[in-house]
C-alpha cells in the first residue's frame, strides 16, 4: 500500500470520534498518555525500587534521592550472570533458526502445495497450541533422556522448536497466502522447481513474516522458565530465567535485590523489542493479520 493511500485510510477512519474538536483532541491525548503511563508505570517503579537502599523502600520518596546500584552489583555478583546470559542466547538462537526453517517450509506447503490430509495435519499441529505446559514437561524430559539429549542446550532448543513450530506455521502460512498467485505461476511457467520458487520468490517476499516469527519465538524462548528449569540440570549450561528465579525466591523480602533481578530478567526482551518493533509492525502489516 502506498504512503498516500495509507494516509487516506488514516483520514478516513478518523471520523468524528475524538479528533475533530479541540476538546476531543485534548481528551484523546489525555487518554492515550494516561494509558501509556499506566503501561510503563509499574516497570518504572520496579527500576526505581531496585535503585534504592533496602531501608528506604517503604519510607522514602518514590524516586530515590541517591540512586545506587548495590542491588545490581549484589545480584550480578551472586549469580555470575554472564554465562547464563550467553546460554540463553545460544538456546534462543538455535530455536529461532530451527523454527524459521521448519515453519517457513511448512507454511509454504500449507499455503500452496497439495498434501494428503492437509486439513487434518494442519489441525493436529494447531492442537499443540492448546497444551498446558505443565503436562508437557515430564514426557519431554523422558523423551530427551531416551534420545540422549537430556541436560543439553540442543535438547532444550529442540523441544522449544517443536513447541514453537505450530504457531509459526500458522503465521507463515498467512504470509505466504498474501503472495499474488501470478508471481508463483510465472515462475512455474519458467520451469522453476518448487524449492527455487520458495527460495527465490516466496521467501524474499515474506521476510517481514520471517521477522514476525523470529520476534515471537525470541520472546517465547527467552521468557521460558519451566522447560529450561526442568530439562537442564547443570548450572553451567542453564539459561537466565531459571537462574534469576532462584534469586527471586531467595530474596523475596529484599525488594531492591528482587526488583533488580526482575529488571535484569525483563530488560533484554524490552530492549530487543524496542530495537526491532519496526520490523514487527511491518511484518504484521505485510500479511498475517489480513487473514
Amino acid at each position: 500500500m502506498s504512503a498516500a493511500s495509507q494516509n487516506l485510510a488514516r483520514r478516513s477512519v478518523r471520523g468524528r470520534l475524538a479528533g475533530h474538536t479541540p476538546g476531543g483532541r485534548v481528551a484523546g491525548y489525555a487518554f492515550l498518555i494516561a494509558l501509556a503511563l499506566v503501561s510503563v508505570g509499574p516497570l518504572v517503579w520496579m527500576v526505581l525500587t531496585s535503585l534504592k537502599p533496602a531501608s528506604a523502600v517503604f519510607n522514602g520518596p518514590l524516586v530515590p534521592q541517591h540512586p545506587q546500584l548495590n542491588a545490581y552489583a549484589y545480584v550480578i555478583g551472586n549469580l555470575g550472570i554472564g554465562s547464563y546470559f550467553l546460554n540463553s542466547v545460544i538456546v534462543t538462537s538455535i530455536t529461532v533458526i530451527g523454527v524459521i526453517v521448519a515453519s517457513s517450509l511448512a507454511g509454504y506447503a500449507f499455503a500452496f502445495l497439495p498434501i494428503p490430509g492437509k486439513r487434518v495435519v494442519f489441525g493436529v499441529l494447531m492442537s499443540a497450541l492448546l497444551i498446558p505446559a505443565a503436562l508437557f514437561l515430564i514426557p519431554a524430559f523422558i523423551e530427551l533422556r531416551t534420545l540422549g539429549l537430556l541436560n543439553t542446550q540442543l535438547g532444550l532448543a529442540l523441544v522449544h522448536t517443536g513447541a514453537g513450530v505450530p504457531f509459526a506455521i500458522f503465521l507463515m502460512r498467512s504470509f505466504f497466502e498474501n503472495i499474488p498467485t501470478e508471481l508463483r505461476d510465472a515462475a512455474r511457467m519458467d520451469g522453476a522447481r518448487e524449492v527455487t520458487i520458495f527460495l527465490r520468490v516466496a521467501l524474499p517476499l515474506s521476510l517481514p513474516g520471517v521477522a514476525t516469527v523470529a520476534i515471537f519465538q525470541v520472546l517465547f524462548t527467552w521468557n521460558d522458565l519451566m522447560l529450561s528449569n526442568g530439562l537442564i540440570q547443570d548450572r553451567s549450561i542453564q539459561t537466565l530465567q531459571p537462574a534469576l528465579y532462584t534469586l527471586v525466591g531467595e530474596h523475596a523480602s529484599n525488594w531492591p535485590a528482587l526488583t533488580a533481578a526482575l529488571t535484569i530478567a525483563a530488560a533484554p526482551v524490552i530492549i530487543f523489542f524496542v530495537a526491532v518493533q519496526r520490523l514487527f509492525v511491518a511484518g504484521l502489516l505485510a500479511g498475517s493479520v489480513k487473514g
Binding site: 516497570l43 511448512a106 497439495p114 513447541a163
Partner: protein, 304 residues
C-alpha cells in the same frame, strides 16, 4: 485451482512429493518433541499415577472423579469467568484504542511502544511485579492512592475472594493490551480506503463508519484475537500462580493452576496425582478444541 486438481489426478504421488518434503522437518520436530511425548502423557489419564512408581490402570475413573471434585468445579468456574472476561475485554479495548490511534497523534509511535512493552515480559515476572504493586503495605498502588488523598480506596486486593479474580483480569489486560493493539493497528492499515470514500459518498460518518466499515473489515483480525484470547484464557497459569498461587483458598485457582498443583504435588499434602492432572488436561484440550471449532464455524458462517 482446477488446474492443480487435474494434475493431482494424473500424477498423485509426484505431485504430493514437494508438499510432503516441505512439511517433513516441521512434522518430524513436532512429532518427536511434542506430539509423541504428549500422547504418551495423556495416556496416563487412564491411570492412577503419582509421576513415579508403577501406574495402575483405572479406566475412566479419573474422569468420573472429576465430576465429583469440588476443587475441579470451582476451577472450571474461575477459568470460565477469567476466559470470558479477558476475551471480551482484550478483544474490544485494544480494538477501540487501535481505532483511536489511527488518527494523527504527535508521538503516536512512542505511545504505542510504551503500551506494548508489558506484553514482551514473561507472565511470571508480570505476576511477581503486580504482587508487589498491589501489596497493601508499601505497594505502588497504595502509595499512589495515599499521595492523591484517596488512601481510603486502598484495599488488600488479592486478599478478598470477591476482588481477586477481577484484579487478575485487569492485570491480564494491562499485560496484553499493547500486543492486541498492534495486531489491530496493523489490520486497520490494511482496510481499503475506497470503502470509506464510498460510504462517505453515501453520507455515512463517525460511528456509522466504524460500525459498518471498520469493524466488519477487521473480522479476520478479530477472529485471530478472540482465538488467541480463548486459548490463553483456558490455559492461564503463570500469571495467577505467581500472584496468588490460586488463593485465597481456591478463589483464584484456575484449571491450569489446579492441574499444576496436582501434577507436581507441590502443595498437596499427600502425593502428586499426575494421572488425575492428565485427565484435567484432556478435558481442557477437548474444551479448547470445541471452542476453536465453534469460533471457526462462526467465522465461516458469517462469511457465507
Amino acid at each position: 485451482m482446477p488446474s492443480t486438481r487435474r494434475i493431482i489426478a494424473r500424477r498423485p504421488t509426484r505431485e504430493f512429493l514437494p508438499g510432503i518434503l516441505f512439511v517433513l522437518p516441521a512434522v518430524i520436530l513436532f512429532i518427536a518433541f511434542v506430539g509423541y511425548p504428549l500422547v504418551s502423557s495423556l495416556y496416563y489419564s487412564l491411570f492412577s499415577w503419582a509421576g513415579y512408581g508403577v501406574p495402575e490402570f483405572i479406566g475412566f475413573d479419573n474422569f468420573v472423579n472429576l465430576t465429583q471434585d469440588p476443587n475441579f468445579q470451582s476451577a472450571v468456574v474461575v477459568t470460565v469467568v477469567y476466559t470470558v472476561a479477558t476475551t471480551i475485554l482484550q478483544t474490544i479495548v485494544p480494538m477501540l484504542v487501535a481505532i483511536l490511534f489511527m488518527q494523527k497523534w504527535r508521538a503516536g509511535a512512542l505511545l504505542r511502544t510504551m503500551i506494548f512493552i508489558p506484553s514482551v515480559i514473561s507472565l511470571t515476572i508480570t505476576g511477581l511485579l503486580w504482587q508487589l504493586v498491589l501489596q497493601p503495605d508499601g505497594g505502588l498502588l497504595e502509595v499512589l492512592l495515599n499521595r492523591v488523598g484517596l488512601g481510603g480506596l486502598s484495599r488488600p486486593w488479592l486478599a478478598d475472594s470477591t476482588s481477586v479474580v477481577p484484579v487478575l483480569i485487569i492485570v491480564s489486560l494491562w499485560q496484553s493490551l499493547g500486543f492486541f493493539l498492534v495486531i489491530y493497528y496493523a489490520g486497520l492499515q490494511g482496510i481499503d480506503p475506497e470503502l470509506y470514500e464510498a460510504a462517505r459518498v453515501d453520507g455515512a460518518s463517525g460511528f456509522r463508519l466504524m460500525r459498518y466499515i471498520t469493524i466488519p473489515s477487521l473480522r479476520s483480525v478479530t477472529t485471530l484475537v478472540i482465538s488467541l484470547n480463548l486459548i490463553n484464557g483456558l490455559k492461564v497459569f503463570d500469571l495467577i500462580y505467581a500472584m496468588t498461587a490460586g488463593g485465597p483458598g481456591t478463589a483464584s485457582q484456575s484449571l491450569g493452576v489446579y492441574l499444576y498443583k496436582l501434577a507436581f504435588g507441590s502443595e498437596n499434602g499427600a502425593s502428586a496425582a499426575f494421572g488425575y492432572a492428565d485427565a484435567i488436561g484432556v478435558v481442557m484440550m477437548i474444551a479448547a478444541a470445541i471452542l476453536f471449532l465453534v469460533v471457526s464455524a462462526l467465522r465461516r458462517g458469517r462469511r457465507a
